[in-house]
C-alpha cells in the first residue's frame, strides 16, 4: 500500500486539518494508503521512505531548514500545502521588518527565542513537486491531488483566476455590479469564488495566479475606493512574498 506522510512547519494546522475534514472520504482513503506519519492524527509513526509527503507550514528556524531537506530525501513526491508552505504565510511579514524588534514586542525574553529573520516556502529549500495554494487549501483540490497520485497521473490544479471560477459559477461580479474592490482578477483559482458568493471582494488568500496583471489591477482597486495603504495591506497578508514579487515585476515593466 502506498505510504502518505503529513509534516508540519510554522503554521496554524488548518491545511493538515483539511485532510481530517474529509469526513466522507477519510476511512476510504485509509484503506487505499498507509498513513505512515501524521503527528496531529496518530501516535504511530512508520519510518520512511514515503511515497507522498504533504508539507504544511513555512521554514522559520535553522532546524526546520534542515528537517525539510531530510523530508525531501525521504519522499518520492512532495506536495506543499497551503500559503505558508507555498509562499511563507502571514508570518513572512517579518521578511519586511526587523525580526528582533518583532520578538521584543511579543516576548518578555526575546533571548529565549530562536528564529530565522525570514519565513520562506518549502520551494526555497527543496524541490517541490506540486503546490496546493490557499489559506487554507481547498478540500476538493486536496482530494483531487491524492486521487491523482494514487492512480499515477498529474493532479488537475487549474492556474486560472478566481474571476473564471466566479463566471463559471454564475456569481454576479461584485465589482461590476456594486463597485466592491476585489482581487479576483489576479488571484489564483481553487477556492470556488467563496468571497464573491458572500458579497465580499476576494482578498487574495490563494495568492497570485501565474501571470497576474498587477499594473492593471491596482488602478481598479483605487477606483473602487482603496487608498494606497489599503492596497499595500490587502496584498500584505497570507501570500505577501508572492504578491510583493509580482508588484515589483509590474513596476519594473512600467519603468
Amino acid at each position: 500500500m502506498p505510504t502518505l506522510a503529513v509534516w508540519k512547519f510554522a503554521s496554524c494546522d488548518g491545511c493538515q486539518l483539511t485532510l481530517l475534514d474529509c469526513e466522507d472520504e477519510l476511512l476510504t482513503l485509509a484503506e487505499q494508503v498507509q498513513i505512515a506519519a501524521f503527528a496531529e492524527a496518530s501516535s504511530a509513526m512508520v519510518a520512511g521512505p514515503y511515497d507522498v509527503s504533504l508539507v504544511e507550514g513555512s521554514i522559520t528556524t535553522a532546524s526546520d531548514a534542515q528537517r525539510i531537506r531530510e523530508i525531501r530525501s525521504q519522499s518520492t513526491v512532495l506536495v506543499a500545502i497551503g500559503a505558508c508552505a507555498t509562499a511563507g504565510g502571514i508570518q513572512a511579514l517579518r521578511n519586511f521588518a526587523d525580526v528582533d524588534e518583532f520578538a521584543s514586542v511579543v516576548y518578555a525574553r526575546p533571548d529565549y527565542i530562536q528564529t530565522l529573520a525570514t519565513s520562506t516556502p518549502a520551494s526555497e529549500h527543496v524541490t517541490v513537486d506540486y503546490e496546493l495554494r490557499g489559506c487554507p487549501i481547498d478540500r476538493g483540490q486536496l482530494l483531487e491531488t491524492l486521487a491523482a497520485l494514487l492512480v499515477g497521473r498529474k493532479p488537475r490544479l487549474p492556474a486560472a483566476t478566481v474571476c473564471t471560477e466566479c463566471k463559471r459559477a454564475g456569481v454576479t461580479c461584485v465589482t461590476v455590479a456594486e463597485g466592491i474592490a476585489c482581487l479576483g482578477p489576479v488571484t489564483h483559482a481553487g477556492c470556488g469564488a467563496l468571497c464573491p458568493r458572500h458579497h465580499r471582494g476576494c482578498y487574495g488568500c490563494f495568492g497570485p495566479m501565474a501571470t497576474p496583471n498587477m499594473g492593471a489591477m491596482i488602478p481598479l482597486l483605487h477606483r473602487d475606493g482603496m487608498s494606497g495603504g489599503d492596497v499595500d495591506r490587502v496584498f500584505g497578508t497570507f501570500n505577501v512574498t508572492q504578491f510583493e514579487a509580482e508588484r515589483n515585476k509590474a513596476e519594473r515593466n512600467e519603468a
Binding site: G14, L27, A103, A108, Y112, S119, H198, T237
Partner: protein, 437 residues
C-alpha cells in the same frame, strides 16, 4: 511518540523521553526529571516556532484582525474572529443588533461541534481504546467512528453555511457579516442538526463508558458566564476570587515567559488557573439545556468535574448543548435587517473575550483616530492552562511511580491531551521527555 525509554520502575532515579507529542494541535514536548520518586523538574515545552502576530498587527487597520488573527489557529478560527470583533467593537463603542449576535453564536456552535467532535473521536478517544489513531479505532468501532465523523461534518457544514468556509471563515467582519442567510438557507441545516443531536447524545453515552484514571485538579477555574451557557461572549466568572470586568483581564491574568517554551505562561492573580470545558461546566452547568443536563447526569457528572481525564464527557455534553442551541437559533431566526453595522474608528482601547472550544480567549487592541492598531494583546487558552497541565503532570508522575517507563510516558501524554491543547495558538506549546534519576 517514545524516542527512548530507559531506567526502571524499581530504581530511585529514571529517565523517559518522548520526541514529539502526537494528537495535539501544534508542536510541543515534555521534560520531567524524577529523583527518588519525586518529580523535580516538570516542563511542558512548546517549541512551535513563533509567528509574531502581536508584532505585525501593529499598524494594521481596525478592520483586519478578524481575518489576520483567524490564522493563529486552523481549528478554532471562529474563536479568534469573535474575540477580535468583540474587542474592536468595544473600542469603537458599537453594540451589535441581537439578530447579528445570534448569528455569531450560531457560527460559534458550528466551531464547538466540529472542534469537540474532532478532539473526542480523532484525538482523545484512541487513548481510552488503546489505539494510536482513529483509523485503528475504526477497525473495531467502525459505527462509532462514522458517527463521530458525521457529527464533525455537521459542525463543519454549519460553519460553511454561516461563515462561508469552516477553516478561516470568509464571511465574518467587524460589525457583523458580509452576507446573512435567509430562513430558507438555514432550513436544510436543521435537518442535519436533528440527526447530529442523536449522534451527540450517543457520544455522551459512549465516552461515559470509558475507564478514567484518577486525577483531581485544584487550580482555580476561570470561564465566561451570562444569560446563556457562554460561547460568543459574556462576563468573567471564577471559582474562588471575586469576578472582574473584561477590561481588567490583563490586570488579573498575566503572561510570563519561561525559558523552555515559545508560549507564554499565564497566571490568575499570581496563581495557577484553568480555563476550558471543566471550568465552563463548573461555573455554568445550570445554564445547560435540560437535555444536556440530563445527559451529563446519566454520564455521572455532578455539579462540577475536576478530573481532567473526564473532560471528554464534558466536551460531549457541550456538543449536545451546541447542537440544540444551533437548532434553537435556527428555529428563532429572523434575518437581520442589515448584515453588518458600520463601525467607525475612534481612538481608544477595546477588550474582547469568547469561549474557544479549549477555553477563554482574550483580545485587546489599541486603535487611533484613523483606525490604525497601535498595540495588540492576545491571551489564548492554552497558555493559561500550561501551568495547570504541568501541575497535572507532576501528580501523574508521583502517582505513577509503580508504572514502567513506557506506561508512565503514555500516561503523561494522555494528561496533556486531556486539555485539547492548541499549541499553534499558545506559541507565542510540546515533545515529551521524562528523566527519572
Amino acid at each position: 511518540m517514545t524516542d527512548s525509554a530507559r531506567g526502571s520502575a524499581s530504581g530511585a532515579a529514571r529517565t523517559l523521553r518522548v520526541g514529539a507529542l502526537t494528537r495535539v494541535e501544534g508542536e510541543g514536548a515534555l521534560h520531567v526529571e524524577v529523583r527518588n520518586g519525586v518529580p523535580e523538574i516538570i516542563e511542558f515545552n512548546i517549541y512551535e516556532p513563533p509567528r509574531f502576530f502581536e508584532a505585525f498587527l501593529r499598524g494594521r487597520m481596525y478592520t483586519e484582525p478578524p481575518d489576520l488573527t483567524a490564522r493563529i489557529c486552523g481549528i478554532c478560527p471562529v474563536a479568534y474572529q469573535t474575540s477580535a470583533c468583540n474587542a474592536i467593537e468595544d473600542a469603537c463603542g458599537v453594540t451589535l443588533d441581537p439578530e447579528l449576535v445570534a448569528l455569531r453564536r450560531l457560527l460559534y456552535c458550528g466551531e464547538w461541534i466540529h472542534s469537540h467532535a474532532l478532539h473526542i473521536y480523532l484525538l482523545h478517544a484512541p487513548d481510552f481504546l488503546g489505539a494510536p489513531d482513529v483509523i485503528t479505532v475504526a477497525r473495531d468501532h467502525r459505527a462509532a467512528v462514522e458517527r463521530g465523523l458525521a457529527l464533525k461534518k455537521a459542525g463543519n457544514r454549519l460553519q460553511e453555511l454561516v461563515g462561508g468556509r469552516s477553516i478561516h471563515p470568509v464571511n465574518v467582519r467587524v460589525g457583523g457579516f458580509y452576507s446573512v442567510p435567509t430562513r430558507a438557507d438555514l432550513k436544510p441545516m436543521a435537518e442535519q442538526l436533528r440527526r447530529a443531536l442523536d449522534d451527540a447524545l450517543a457520544t455522551v453515552e459512549w465516552v461515559a463508558g470509558f475507564e478514567f484514571p484518577d486525577l483531581t485538579i485544584d487550580a482555580e477555574l476561570l470561564a465566561l458566564t451570562g444569560d446563556r451557557y457562554p460561547m460568543e461572549g459574556g462576563a468573567i466568572a471564577r471559582s474562588d476570587g471575586p469576578a472582574f470586568g473584561v477590561a481588567e483581564f490583563s490586570d488579573h491574568v498575566r503572561e510570563t515567559h519561561v525559558p523552555h517554551s515559545t508560549a507564554l505562561h499565564a497566571t490568575l492573580d499570581g496563581h495557577q488557573h484553568l480555563t476550558g470545558p471543566l471550568a465552563r461546566y463548573a461555573l455554568n452547568h445550570e445554564l445547560l439545556s435540560p437535555l444536556a443536563r440530563e445527559a451529563a447526569a446519566a454520564a455521572g457528572l455532578g455539579a462540577e468535574c475536576r478530573n481532567p481525564f473526564r473532560s471528554i464527557i464534558v466536551r460531549a455534553v457541550e456538543v449536545v448543548y451546541a447542537v440544540q442551541e444551533a437548532l434553537r437559533i435556527i428555529e428563532d431566526y429572523e434575518r437581520p435587517a442589515r448584515p453588518y453595522l458600520e463601525v467607525e474608528p475612534r481612538p481608544g482601547v477595546g477588550h474582547g473575550v469568547s469561549e474557544a472550544p479549549r477555553g477563554l480567549l482574550y483580545h485587546r487592541y489599541e486603535i487611533d483616530e484613523s483606525g490604525r492598531i497601535g498595540a495588540a494583546l492576545i491571551v489564548p487558552p492554552t497558555s493559561q492552562n500550561q501551568a495547570a497541565i504541568e501541575a497535572d503532570l507532576a501528580r501523574v508522575v508521583l502517582a505513577g511511580e509503580a508504572l514502567d517507563d513506557a506506561a508512565l510516558t503514555t500516561l503523561c501524554e494522555r494528561a496533556i491531551r486531556n486539555y485539547d491543547p492548541c499549541i499553534s495558538c499558545a506559541t507565542h506549546f510540546l515533545t515529551l521527555r521524562v528523566d527519572r534519576r
